[in-house]
Amino acid sequence: MIDKYRWWEVVAIYAGIAVFLTFILAPFVEAFVVSMRPLDALFSIPYRFITEEMSFRAYVTMWENVPLLGLYIFNSFLIASSVTVFALLAIIPAAYAFARFKFKGSNTLLAAFLAVNMVSGAVLIIPLFKVMHQLGLLNTYFAMIAPGTAFVIPTGIWLLRSYLLKIPKELEEAAWADGASRMYTLRRVIIPVAMPGIIVVAIATFIVAYAQQFIYALTFNSKNELNPLPVGLFQFFGRQEVVWNELMAASLVGIVPVLVIYIFLQRYIVAGLTAGAVKE
């Protein structure tokens, strides 16, 4: 490829990226630094990046101060994973139908899905609370999983549909001509070929589910053992003071599973799985 940028353009591009990254990563850096500091050095004036007696002690003491921390992380994980699994069960067939079948109102439905996305879960939290209360579902995992699932489905359908549209129609026609039913084709041909797309959707869904569970847990759950991490972190807010260093340490540890999953799955997101299917 021809290098089409001049040197100052390259500098400008990297400077832009640097500014962008600083904004995104600064909170993480600050969280990490805070987690290392002893509590009394937190609010020193003037601000010092490096303070004395920095250590990893908070990462040990946090498990003692909040004994259920491990359970919170597990709950977070369980809720987000369940949301992902249930959402995919709905997203895959729905996206396939929207990508392949022509039926009345398909465009209207797709537009409606987009519109639903604009209404955040927070707006519906009171009606949802009413529903959960009526059904007697408050203080269960279900109360935190079901609304979460419902809210990630529309985005998932949009994402996966655009991926499925790129899969050549001939693959299905060939399977159809060979006598395979729609479901057989979906299972044996479409899902394996669409795997990279499905994994992207799964990751996106998981991350959204991990992030959005706070509001549902806060509203629909008052059982401490069922709380996910974001709610569990409130335990670090004492009556007199907030244990900032342990709070930050716990937050960072809570992010680790997501990071691990992301890194692990990232290598599956490769183009080229469809290589050889049809001649381009």
Binding site: A174, W176, A177, A277, V278
Partner: protein, 378 residues
């Protein structure tokens, strides 16, 4: 058995009619080629036979049974797609075995049939590979393998060779003809490449704008095209068409006046009331010669292509502004920009009336090559 019949088959997409009434009888074991320009409906017609496209009107029979509403697998057909449509995540073995797995055959039988197909197609070494690791020709063979394992009575090919390079294409052409010989199954083959049509077909179906323009053996189409469209479509370079005026029409000859005033008596079946009418004279470039001939026409060469064995001269008829192509000897003395007379024999000429329909030429096809006219499949 693989007998197939179409009866006034029509297809519309919305208000546009793509297939405007096609009737055709295909005998068991015949190799039929649908040929025509892009958009003539040949692929649509094939997909209707396959059951991938609904038939708007008319009837499709396979082995005497109406199959209009049957899914492809119940019609006893299998199809090879232009893009191969291989399953990228499965090995060659599993790709070929796919139709058998759908039919829930026993593992032993699957194994036996896949081995048999891979032997015929020389894919034995490749069974464990994924389609992505194969060359274009091998992928195409896998696609054909997937079609033959089910042992259908009718094979449908949708431009299967158009993604291959020229050398591979001619190899595959021979292989397909061999395959047709050894399987003895009915094959219907869609292509826009007339060389494929001419070399492989028992009969060619020329489609034009959703209707059959002519059906016949390759040489029949070459020597006795029924209309201007077929005349122009079959043959490369294209047939030359010259505007002429009819001077006289007898039972076995029609005399026409050339643009420059010369006259030719063409041996075709005459018709009444032709005198004075505008007609079209067709001469194939390969029938043009320099020197002694029945008639001459003066042309100015614009581009001369020297191919070694042949010289192709793209010229304009002097004073008529119609293009005129000649296929001459490799060493033919043609010079760009100079007017020169080229000659042709009256017996090589085709004559079309003002509606584009051909007047039947008085050539006996048996004289051309009786072997090529076998209507019964070999």
């Amino acid at each position: 058995m693989g007998q197939l019949a179409l009866q006034d088959v029509k297809k519309s997409f919305g208000s546009t009619e793509v297939i405007k009434g096609v009737s055709l009888d295909v005998k068991d074991g015949e190799f039929i080629v649908f040929v025509g320009p892009s958009g003539c409906g040949k692929s649509t017609l094939l997909r209707m036979i396959a059951g991938l496209e609904e038939v708007s009107d008319g009837t499709v029979f396979i082995d005497g049974k109406v199959v209009n509403n049957l899914p492809p697998v119940k019609r006893g057909i299998s199809m090879v797609f232009q893009s191969y449509a291989l399953y990228p995540h499965m090995s060659v073995y599993e790709n070929i075995a796919f139709p058998l797995r759908v039919a829930k055959m026993s593992e032993a039988e699957v194994e036996e049939r896949v081995r048999k197909a891979s032997r015929i197609l020389q894919l034995d070494e490749r069974l464990k590979h994924k389609p992505g690791q194969l060359s274009g020709g091998q992928r195409q063979r896998v696609a054909i393998g997937r079609a033959i394992v089910r042992e259908p009575s009718v094979f449908l090919f949708d431009e299967p060779l158009s993604n291959l390079d020229a050398a591979l294409r001619s190899d595959m052409r021979v292989e397909l003809s061999k395959l047709h010989g050894s399987l003895g199954a009915t094959m219907i083959y869609v292509t826009h490449d007339q060389i494929e049509a001419m070399t492989m077909a028992d009969r060619i179906v020329v489609l034009d704008g959703g209707v059959i323009s002519q059906v016949g053996s390759p040489l029949e189409l070459y020597h006795k095209p029924q209309n201007l469209f077929v005349a122009g479509f079959i043959g490369n370079p294209k047939m030359n068409f010259v505007e002429v005026t009819c001077k006289a029409s007898a039972e076995n000859s029609v005399t026409v006046t050339l643009p420059d005033g010369g006259e030719v008596e063409v041996p075709v079946k005459g018709q009444a009331n032709l005198e004075g009418q505008k007609m079209t004279l067709g001469i194939r470039p390969e029938h043009i010669k320099l020197g002694q001939a029945d008639a001459h026409i003066s042309v100015v060469a614009n581009v001369v292509e020297r191919l070694g064995i042949h010289t192709v001269s793209h010229a304009t008829v002097e004073g008529a502004n119609t293009s005129f192509c000649s296929l001459l000897d490799g060493a033919a003395p043609v010079v760009v920009g100079e007017a020169a007379p080229v000659g042709f024999n009256a017996s090589d000429c085709h004559l079309f009336d003002s509606t584009g329909a051909a007047l039947e030429r008085l050539v006996k096809l048996e004289d051309v090559d009786p072997a090529m006219l076998q209507v019964e499949p070999a």
